[in-house]
Amino acid sequence: MQYQFLGIGYLTWITFLPLIGMAVVLLIPKSNINAMKWTALAATILQLVLAAIIWVNFKPSLSGINDPNGFQFVEKTRWIDLPGVAWFGHVAVDYFLGIDGLSLPMVMLTALISFVGVIASWNIGKSQKGYFALYLLLDTGMMGVFVALDMFLFYVFWELMLLPMYFLIGIWGGPRREYAAIKFFLYTLLGSVLILLVMLGLYFSVNVTDPATGQAMHTFDMLAMMNPQNYDPHALFAGIGTYWRYVAFIALFIGFAIKVPIFPFHTWLPDAHVEAPTAISVILAGVLLKMGTYGFLRISFPIFPDAVLKFSYALAILGFINIVYGALCAMAQTDFKKLIAYSSISHMGVVLLGIAALNTQGVAGGVLQMFNHGVVTAMLFLIVGVIYDRAHTRGVNDFGGLANQMPVYTGIMTVAFFAAIGLPGLSEFISELLSYLGAFQTFRWIAIFSSIGIVLTAGYMLWTLQRVFLGQLPEKWKGLTDVNGRELVSLVPLMVVVILLGVFPSIMLHPMSATLNNLVDFIHKVGTGMTALK
């Protein structure tokens, strides 16, 4: 098989490299903190290199989504095999990894943000061993979610990432960390339960022939779940547009919506962000939120295309609410981190608006926005981290005039702020443009009303910029130093990506298009029953 190293596939490597790093970190003596940091950094750099190799070898023409031959770097082996439980049948779970144009940007994002996160974690003050071990475990969980094609495996990774996140917020967080961590954990767990229920329902509804034995069996294979012909006619989720399919879609939607987060399931996010240490905020906003929308596109949409078509209008309205509500709430915040948390809610609304449009440009815009928002928000949280490290406050009104005191920092910040505003030439412009163009074609008025968000975003961002960076420098901040080398190493790569994708969005859009076009085509054909059912 191609794309192997030491007989193990690239995707396994990229997923479990951090786990190896974690093992090494655990073996390092407690006193040798530097070794732990460098181990974590090495693991994430290797992961990033591997991501780059995967990027180079990725074939943009393959279509992915429902087509087993459309996936690349595929690894598939039997993982769990319980033959012959009397009433339960043959239980088999595959270790099934693969990527297409939808997961590729997310793999890149995860690798990039994880690397940046390690650098931002450099000055973690207590129990470094536990921190880096959990951090690397989290990394494995995130990467696994984006490469898994078996729903059971997906669920395992999904839950795997939950636990380290809980501890990372709960132990290394701010003053109200325990409240925030528990809120995050319980909220996400509630979502997980819904996902689990739907997953089991799907498992029992789908019948395939076991290639090994030739017998009929249930499966957790996502691709099999997408094919309407695999459904047992008497099963709960059989048919097109049946009642339980809608119920399942809504349950699954809530499960993923909590992660995005979509109004009204969003209130865990500001708390989690405010309490989490900088690097964890970066991971949270940069990668974790995207898992929700990734879940929509990977699981909800192609498995329940009929329900998507039925509810797309509602999804778009939720997108609109996220955009405008998030922006207005952001405007009222005085805590810098909370402000950016709400801006995330607003920007993730654009993703939802775009993908709900269910056309080429909308879905492409949505997925690109997932990537771009990940990068830009990571930058914003790093930027807050920089002054929080120095001033130990995040109050927007406590600052002023930092532009003169920290010119390089201000320059980088300006790029990030204007990227968030959607300034052309920077990455978020393109993804917002495509999302809005897509949405406009499908739901004209929702797109028009959502564009209020464009003004509101400029409003709160520039107001924040003014309050923190412009004006007179208060006497007490005369001692603040400009960004140091380490901080530059974390910020500059992100800035380069922001500018590069702003000018040449094709770099990212080209590998995505075949997959996303297939997704759109598939939803419309299967969702309207054009592909006949048995």
């Binding site: 009222a332 080429t360 028009i448 076009n517 085509d521």
Partner: protein, 706 residues
Amino acid sequence: MASTESLLLNLALAVLFLPLAGFALLIFFGKKIPRQDLVETGILFTALAISIYIMVQKVFFVSAPTIDLTFKWLDLGAVAGQQGFSIDLGIAIDNIAAIMLVVVTLISSLVHTFSLAYMEGDVRYTRYYAYLGLFSFSMLGIVLSNNLLMIYVFWELVGISSYLLIGHWYEKKSASDASKKAFIVNRVGDVGFFIGIMIVFTSLHTFLLRDVFGGIAAQHLTGPLLTAAGILIFCGAVGKSAQFPLHVWLPDAMEGPTPVSALIHAATMVAAGVYLVARIFPMLTAEALTVIAYIGAITAFIAATIAVTQNDIKKVLAYSTISQLGYMIMALGVDAYSAGFFHLVTHAAFKAGLFLASGSVIYAMHHEQDMRNMGGLRKKMPITYWAFVIFSLSISGIPFTSGFLSKDSILAGALAYGLLTGNYLIPIIGYLVVFLTAAYMFRLIIMTFHGEPRDHHKYEHAKESPKVMTVPLIVLASLSIFVFYSFNPFNPEKGWFLQAVQQPASVVPAAQSYGFDQPVNDVQVTSPQQQPNAAELSVEAQKTETTRYEEAMEAVHYPGLALSLTLAVLGILAAFVVYDWKKIDAEKLKQRVKPVYTFLYNKWYFDELYDATAVAGTLLLSKSLAWFDGHVIDGVVNGAATLTRLWSTLSGKFDHYIVDGLVNFSAWFTGFLGKATRRVQTGKVQTYIVFALLGVIVIFYVFRQF
């Protein structure tokens, strides 16, 4: 493609990217380069030289109306069986683009030169020049774009350069407030622009203007949606060109350095709105044009009335700019396309000149901007004074100036429009503004340069500005003379300029257009299917037959000219009567019309209105939603948690008291029974017999039933 044409395109790209290179150079290596200011200025002069070459070539030697370079920027492929999604971008040079190239690079290089002295010793001198480079790049981008998307992109980029330059002295709260306001108010207009673009793209699947016009000519976008698209795109111009009701940002933008005001907020960027309307002109329906004409006329009037009352020299000029931009927009709205664009160009020269001259005054007066503290500067600053006079004559529309030619074309167009449609309000406003313009300009000159100095200390120190500042003034003053645009000082029609700037033919369905270009004796409407595409139309527009519009223009030209000249002279006289000869006391006049004066002095209370409604409303909404989020939404979440805990406490209690209680109770009860029955076991046989007897009785009693 002919070799000249590809050469011109390559040169245009060079002009476009040179200032960007300068920007990058100064931002990243600013500290390491000696005399960064000269680097950037040199770049601009190079760009100017190339631009002049391009313009001369294009206007006089290249016969094709448009030279175009298009490339595929983005291709998302297609969903099986559907139309694909791709975006083409590119640049195009036609006559107006070629002329604009020169206008932008000329004013920009003069402003660069002027700033060498004006900004000397500034804290962020390098940054200033870098931002000027960024601005020049973005502005040239708007000029050269052949598609709506790139125009929008560069539109936003000039917005950001403007933001950065207005806030150049960001330590001052008023400056950072002004820059924020400029950006946000512009964004409001831009959202309309954005929606307009979305309408166009969704209907026609392209951003390229020529294909857009082709699609509209082929009736793929018609009716109210076409009108809406036109008006929405015009919204962008309303923001950028500071038209009513979004004009409020421009006076505040005067917080920026004065050369910036000259370049961005007088000559070029604010004219981009006019340029945009000129670009999309063929797709504007009669309804859209009427809206545009009214917005322009209202703006021209409101701003002129405010300008009469202001005392800050830059504020007067700012309102004057708004008013003149209103003229240009109005011109386009009344179908006087060439006149509108003509005024854009002449205005760029004399208004940039006015701002630079006021900069020269402010420089001499040590950053004093209030005209009430000036006076008598004529003797101290003769070059600045005479330049000022020429610019003012030009803006007032006095013969032998460029402003006379262009403004007169606009007024004639407005009058012809009035005759053809019966819409007389627009020409009436147009003429009223002529009077006001002359009045406020000469009020400004008299207060600043004539009479006795009012602040003697500052007057003593005032002196003529250095050469790098006066030379640009002299250049601009000479460009305010008629001869550069037409050899006939009274009729520009046959001059090279108006020959080069021909009105493109409309592509909207005949029923939706003004129909002014119909021949006089042939009112028959040609069916839209017969209309050829836009490129051919613009050639066809040069028809030999006299159109209705031309006929009307013919009729109004000389009476209109006489009227505007009379009004301008009256305006100048009024200024002299009140401010110089003091035949009428200005203070008494103010007292007599106090309510009107206060209303105008406070700028019609637009700022107060917006603060009380839009700004306060948004902030209130945002605060309420944040409260709602924290107390209601999060309240439900926390409430659910609290309820769960309450439930668990209750079930804990239940478990403890009821479930466990039952268990304990049964144990206790057994013990109790044991204790109770233990008493029975007394060891006395008699007692046992009594119990046995009782038992037997009970058993008998029970079994008797069966």
